[in-house]
Structure formats: C-alpha cells, structure tokens
C-alpha cells in the first residue's frame, strides 16, 4: 500500500519508498523536494518567505530554516549530502497589478532565495518549475524521485 503524506503550509515532511509526499495549492510559496536516489528517501517543504529574520524564533515558514532542518533529518536517516538532489516548484505571481514588476514579486524572490540556499548548502538542483501566474499542487514519488506538478488550466507535468 502506498500512503500519501501531506505537507501543510510552513511545514516539511520526510518519508521513504513507496510513500508519496504532496502539498496542495502552492501560489507564491515554493515547494522544495530533496531526494536520495540511492536510499529512496526524501522530503518536501512548503515555504512562504525567503529568510528567517528573527534569530530567537526559528520558523518553518522560512526557506532557510525549513531546508536546513529537512536536510538534517535526511542525514540522520543515513543520507549523505552528495547523494541528495533537489527539485523546486511554485513561486508564482497570482495577482498581476499593472504597476507590479514580476521580479519584485514575493514569489520570484522566494524562488531566487531557495536556489541560493540550496547552492550554499551544496545541494544539486536538478529541476524546477517556477514562476507564472498560476497555482501548483506537487507530489513527490519516493520510489522514483519523480515530481508531479498539477495546475488549473496549465496542464500536468513531471519534472
């Protein structure tokens, strides 16, 4: 039996083969998956903001905190940093105002920050589906590492 682990906003979950991990309705938020192909374990985070601003209160709504804690948990389960691969999705601009520039939108800034954090942690980013003006539901298959991306009106794809 395959169970599906659901990740809420500002949270992360890890699991192992043959589970799937899903998060629903990413808008400006970014979903980050980290997968260990060898061990067939992995995790998914659903972040809202780039970086933790209050050092006294670490929150999983921030990309840096969620990614660091998720990786730490995978390392505890026996993964090695060099064996981890990341995929990201989301970071869209749901509402377009005529005055707004996409590069200033929080979705864009989230995606940029996530890529920077992964780079600093030396995690290989192998695929991404970010930007646009639509929401995404993403599902990571822990038996393959494949990430399914569902949208409304913009099709379905795998990365």
């Amino acid at each position: 039996m395959t169970d599906t682990i659901k990740v809420g906003m500002a949270d992360y979950k890890v699991g192992e083969n043959p589970s799937k991990i899903i998060t629903l309705g990413l808008g400006s938020c970014v979903g980050i998956t980290i997968y260990d192909k060898g061990k067939k374990i992995g995790g998914m985070a659903h972040i809202m903001l780039p970086k933790n601003t209050n050092p006294e209160k670490r929150s999983l709504k921030f990309a840096d905190v969620a990614i660091e804690e998720m990786i730490e948990e995978l390392l505890k389960k026996g993964s090695r940093l060099s064996g981890l691969e990341a995929k990201i999705a989301g970071g869209s601009q749901m509402f377009a105002f005529s005055s707004s520039d996409e590069k200033k939108s929080i979705g864009y800034r989230n995606a940029v920050a996530v890529k920077q954090i992964l780079k600093e942690l030396k995690i290989n980013l192998i695929a991404e589906d970010t930007g646009g003006k639509f929401g995404r539901t993403i599902e990571l298959d822990l038996s393959t590492g494949e990430l399914k991306i569902k949208t409304i009106g913009h099709g379905e794809k795998y990365i």
Binding site: M9, L24, G27, S28, C29, M48, M94, F97
Partner: protein, 207 residues
C-alpha cells in the same frame, strides 16, 4: 510596540465584527442592486486563525475558486478579497450578462464582469467602513485570479506572515436568490492598521 493579533480581546473582536457587519451590509446592498435580486448575507465572523490554517477554508486548498483581490491604502492598510466558488461565479455571470460565454468563467467578458462586481462590492464595504470610522480608506485597482483556493489565499497571507503567525479575518458570506450565489468576503488588515482601526472606533482597551 506593535500589537499581536492573537492577543485581541473579545470586546475588540466584537467591535471589529461590527465594522464587518456595517461594511458587508453595504456590500450586500450594492450586490443586490447590480443583480436586481435580493441578496442575503450571514452575520460576519471576526476570527483569529493560524495563518497556516487559512488555506484550508473554502472547501480545501485545491478547491477551484475565483478571487477578486484589492490592496487597501490610506489610514489603514491591508487586503480585501471577494472569493467565489466557480459554480457561483458562473451563476453570477449569467445573472449579469444573461448567458454564459463559451469559455465559461474563463472568458474575457465574464472575468471583466466578475472583477467589476468585486470592485463595486469592495468599494461599498470600504465606504461604509470609512464613514463609520472616520478613516480614509483607498482601494487599489482590482486583480482577478482563477485558481486553487490555497494558492490564492496563501499569496495574500504571505506579507502578513513576515510579522505574524496569525491572521484576523472578517468574513461574510453572501447568498443570492435561492442560494445560487455563494460568495465569501474577506478583509485582512495589516498588524499596525488594526491598532488604528480599533482606536478610531473607540474600542482600544490596551496598548
């Protein structure tokens, strides 16, 4: 020292509910005038919710909805949004235009009509709020999104999430003739604006 949303007292919440009631009453009147139909509304709820729980409202994160969203500027800042499930949006368009477009609510005319309705009822809501509180409140131009409820709601919560883990939602549901239209109206004031709003209506008990 800025206030905490989760520390609002019952009497402060009641006062905010009253603001919501006056605004929503005006919005319902505007909606019924546009439709030339009777529009009922529920008594507004002023709720403090964990931010991460908000996208679960409206039938779940993946539920397909149409949202008309405006920023509020002036003496208070925040976000205001009119959200409709797709079937209600279709009914609304049919009532306004007489028939549905081939593309349904994705059609240009339909989207423009829904945006305009959102704009009118939001302005009515804010006019009432402004008259009641004596504050100047100016809405931005409206923007429409047709997508998953989670994607839409989380996007308007993101800004608030930089300073708080909680949101104050003033919600009202509108129901058209025979419950054919079921829309939700949300107002999410920014943290500092809550103080201003409570003071202006004489409901500020602590600082």
């Amino acid at each position: 020292m800025s206030m905490k949303i989760e520390a609002l007292t019952d009497s402060e919440l009641d006062a905010l509910k009253e603001v919501g009631n006056i605004g929503a009453g005006n919005a319902a009147t505007a909606l019924s005038q546009i439709l030339s139909k009777r529009v009922d509304m529920t008594v507004p709820r002023a709720r403090v919710l964990e931010l991460t729980k908000v996208p679960e409202l409206l039938g779940g994160e993946e539920n397909l909805v149409i949202g008309v969203y405006l920023r509020i500027f002036g003496d208070i800042q925040g976000n205001i949004m009119f959200l409709l499930p797709v079937n209600s949006a279709e009914t609304l368009v049919e009532m306004l235009l007489g028939a549905a477009e081939e593309e349904g609510v994705l059609g240009e005319i339909s989207q423009s009509a829904i945006t305009e309705v959102g704009n009118i009822i939001t302005s009515s809501y804010l006019n009432a709020l402004s008259a009641f509180s004596g504050l100047t409140v100016v809405p931005s131009t409206p923007s429409l999104a047709y997508d998953m409820a989670g994607a839409i709601l989380s996007t308007i919560l993101i800004e608030l999430s930089e300073v708080s883990d909680y949101a104050l939602l003033i919600e009202t549901e509108f129901m058209g003739d025979g419950k054919t239209i079921d829309g939700n109206f949300f107002m999410l004031p920014d943290l500092d604006s809550l103080n201003v709003l409570l003071k202006s209506i004489g409901a500020k008990k602590h600082d």
